[in-house]
Symmetry: C2
Subunit: 234 residues, 2 copies
DNA sequence: GAGCGCCAACTTCCATGCAAGATGATATTG
DNA sequence: CAATATCATCTTGCATGGAAGTTGGCGCTC
């Protein structure tokens, strides 16, 4: 079984390096706003905090910059990117493009595969409806997030999954904020069901259109809220 | 004008670092297949070739890995990613998603803005038609590339532009190959004109649909060609 | 007091050294 | 001869130091 062990090592078996640790830790701190947007930190400071030298922190910062989460200012430091409403508009358009296409792809798959996906998505939507009735905002948000992630992941396009992950990470802080602000949790449930139904009957154009409308509606609902708040924060 | 100088420095004025040099050089070598797909190089070797130490090469490799152009095998080296037909299928779906949305966004802009974009796109399409009649494949390919890049760039979404750039870089080698294989250069011109017309009259749904059909047709035409060739090369 | 220049402190950039993992050739054993 | 163990070599991971760019404050000049 030498081959199997070799492939495992090659694919996922390797234990995380310090760079991976630093990347995960910094990403988490940014997601949870422990590093607030606009904050400027030195690599030395972060390295000290994580108990490692500057090198892995620097290399993790490069990856985070590639993800759009921080900006490295040469010889000045690492600054956490803030999101303006204009950024959220960009992000929504990317999500609309990706999720719309993912929904269409799902609608085009074989029937047995579709049925599995449909039941998974339906379960998540049911969880949302339940959370809405119980007025459990956290549970609602979690189920909603899972629905959208599943929609893209089950489409099976690795590059789309990666783009979706990156853009979702960028929007995470804004999502945490808007989750508390929004009313009308019911509309999402109904819209999700329409997306599911289009996938179930294998209508790709309708699936894309429903996914598109769902996100457009959410965008038009949330962007004004963000704009009425502080501009350059979150 | 202190402010202006400060912003220039912050934005673009900075002369490239060695890391930037290494990134650009390696990317170029990959694009032009001087580093062929599957080739495994050591950082030391590349550093020697570029006349710098391992550090900037290593950091550039991290960025290239993030771009999906290379894979860093821990303690083994840098390997240039090869593209299988399955990868090209993924890439096409991302392009369909992004360009479709970009076309829709363009169709939704104000009339004066639309007219400027339309005339720009029309000029590029005219150049394609001219190149087709002259049987100048290189010119045709260049104009086609410009058309698609312009379509996305003029939509004005920075994140979409970045995604498009990344995915286009990945597909560059495959594009160079397929360019020589394809017949039917005429279909693209007609399809481009339909996209342009939909944008001109401000019909977002039609613009998206035309962009979608154009790329789908190209995909269905080129993927079989790739599959009939060597699988894991380019 | 206002403006200017200088300098010290802080930052990253990059080169390099050391340690440790990966690999393939060679020696050893059955 | 086949199979395995060993080791020399090659590779990167990470730490660290020196060089150079950036910044903010202090003192000097007017």
């Amino acid at each position: 079984m030498v081959r199997v062990r070799a492939e495992q090592q090659e694919e996922a078996d390797r234990r995380p390096s310090l760079v991976d640790d630093a990347y995960a830790a910094m990403k988490e701190e940014i997601r949870e706003s422990r590093f607030p947007p606009g904050y400027q930190a030195s690599e030395q400071e972060i390295a000290l905090r994580l108990g490692m030298s500057r090198t892995p922190v620097h290399e993790a910062a490069i990856r985070l910059q590639e993800d759009g989460l921080v900006r490295i200012l040469p010889r000045k430091g690492i600054v956490i990117c803030a999101l303006a409403p204009a950024d959220m508009r960009e992000i929504y358009d990317v999500v609309i493009a990706i999720e719309g296409r993912a929904a269409a792809l799902l609608a085009e798959t074989a029937k047995t595969e579709r049925e599995a996906v449909v039941s998974e998505l339906a379960a998540l939507t049911a969880a949302m409806a339940k959370a809405r009735d119980a007025e459990d905002l956290a549970a609602w948000g979690h189920a909603d997030e899972c629905f959208h992630r599943t929609l893209v992941e089950r489409a099976g396009n690795g590059r789309m999954i990666r783009i979706n992950q990156t853009i979702t990470d960028q929007a995470h802080r804004a999502r945490m904020l808007t989750l508390k602000l929004r009313r009308e949790l019911g509309a999402s449930v109904a819209e999700h069901q329409q997306i599911i139904e289009a996938i179930r009957i294998g209508n790709a154009a309708a699936a894309q259109e429903q996914a598109y409308r769902h996100r457009s509606r959410a965008r038009d609902e949330l962007l004004p809220l963000l704009e009425s708040f502080g501009l350059r924060h979150l």
